[in-house]
Amino acid sequence: MTGQAVTSAEKAATTLSIGKALNNGLRRAMEDDPKVLIMGEDVGKLGGVFRITDGLQKDFGEDRVIDTPLAESGIVGTAIGLALRGYRPVCEIQFDGFVYPAYDQIVSQVAKFHYRSRGQVRLPIVIRIPFGGGIGAVEHHSESPEAYFSHTAGLKVVSCANPNDAYWMIQQAIASDDPIIFMEPKRRYWEKGQVDTDGEPYPLHSARVLRPGTDATVVAYGPMVRVALDAAAAAVEDGRELEVIDLRSLSPLDLGPVYDSVRRTGRLVVVHEAPSNLGLGSEVAARVTEKCFYSLEAPVLRVTGFNVPYPAARLEEEYLPDLDRVLDAVDRSFGW
């Protein structure tokens, strides 16, 4: 990070919500690099419907924090043009379910420019998507589309799960020349935690062990990390020590720490909100099976949303993986 004086509000180890940490991270990225732009629906005066860009237009002006017309394909398509012109656009998609009008621009254009240009063009674009359920919303506001993007070569996909990662990962994503889909766990926006604004950030595309354990490994990302940690705390009562790993990077996957863990525990449960069918858990299970086959005491189990469209709010409690379902999977693993 270049020469900006650290303000007193930013002194090391402050307590912030995930939302505010993202806001501070965006602010710092804009201060560090005048080419960073923010664009999206209602990101200006309103500060975004989740207030992640709150105050940024006031401080950086309408040229750098752009309220766009209401068209997601336009947001991402023009971000490509701006990137070709030397800018580093950070696009906000208002909700997960509204990224699809931009899908063509993301999958056919953002993902492929570098390849098509034989490496000559870089598109340092970040596409921020608040994702996942649990907020009692109406349809199209609770989806988990990360697998679509992780499946697409040319895109990198990351997800933060705590304020410190939110603060640093958004800055790392903006600084990266890879196009990055940045999945934000919207139902955790208000969760608070320590942010070390002076520390050395953890590498962007690395998984991280959040809780060491010896009996079984639980892998999660985004909003499900909290559920995995809560399950691990509860499992102590059953005399089980669960190791919890936050994937952080969904594409590329960093499974080294998972292999290490599974070789010790022999059991793996993968948790995500997205449906199981061809989801991230399938890839994790396949690779762990390839690499750790002789260490496994039970098949890799997945705890996920069901393979149905995301249901109405009063059914989401059934749909969403929770502590009980994670512990049930751990039980099943032990009962194998």
């Binding site: 349809e139 109405a312 379902r325």
Partner: protein
Amino acid sequence: MAKGQPPARDGRDDIAPEPEFVQLLNPEGERVEHPEYSVDFSDEEYRDLYRDLVIVRKLDKEATALQRQGELAIWASLLGQEAAQVGSGRALRPQDMAFPTYREHGVLYCRGIDPIMPLSLFRGVDYGGWDPAKYKFNMYTIVIGAQTLHATGYAMGINLDGRIGGGNGSGDDEAVIAYFGDGASSQGDVNEAFVWAGVFHAPVVFFCQNNQYAISEPLERQTRVPLYQRAAGFGFPGVRVDGNDVLATYAVTRAAMDNARHGQGPTLIEAYTYRMGAHTTSDDPTRYRIASEVESWQAKDPILRVHRFLTNQGLADDAFFSSVEEQAAEVATHLRERVLSMPEPDPMSVFDNAYPNGSPLIDEERERFVAYQASFAEGAH
């Protein structure tokens, strides 16, 4: 001046300093003549329109209150847009098909549909889940603009079936109306719908309620020309109407729908109105607009002008007005009672209706979930 912005003009009304539109009833409640459009209502029909407006507003207020009390997850209020919805809704003929957004509660009511129907969606019980064919009213569409294409395709089907004028000529020729907002006008889908409708001469009317905002973004973020003028580029007529004038919205919609059903192709109607409330109950409009702007629109209230008209013309007396209030209160109370007694969805219904022919994957999940839930009953956990 910000570099990325168009040259400044004076004030945010630069698109339409004095918007020219079709008006038949001004804010003072006086009838205005228009060379092309008129209405021919009986006294009773004028009173009915007033009743619709009042009931629709009252229902909306009740729903907002229900949300505030935690009984609905969210509510998208139509406050201020009653005339646009009642006028256009009443202009439809029974055989016509409507494609709403998430805000067309007034149109729904005017189609003769029980206003409870969309409340399950806003309570989070289901996604609406009515049969569009039965009500001639598609499900609410939340993904901005998508329904304009569906409406156009439906209208193409009417063409294919020969159900427009010059077809079987049976007098029950059909037309379609697609509702959308000023913000939606930016979406690719909406522009593609215009292209399709023009090319295929589809019997569809695009009814844009320009309520001046797309959440926080004012009209200038979507267009530099009045929206109705866009139609010309797609090869069909566009007309702007005073969206707070129930008579004008009725007349203009009626004419456009009848043109469509008689084989004259699509029309774009821009109903110039104002969203008096928040975008939804989750929104805080004080962050992006000033109170005086809202107040200036108060003077153009769509209901007040009909009240004045009825009074001045001697078409209604105090007894009538209070009976309408009573009726509206009753309808609202009835709505509240039914919202409160709405059954919770069956947890197992989460596995239903993903496919007409079912899916073995889901069957397996359903079975596993039943066993999982049973394990709690057995005290296994």
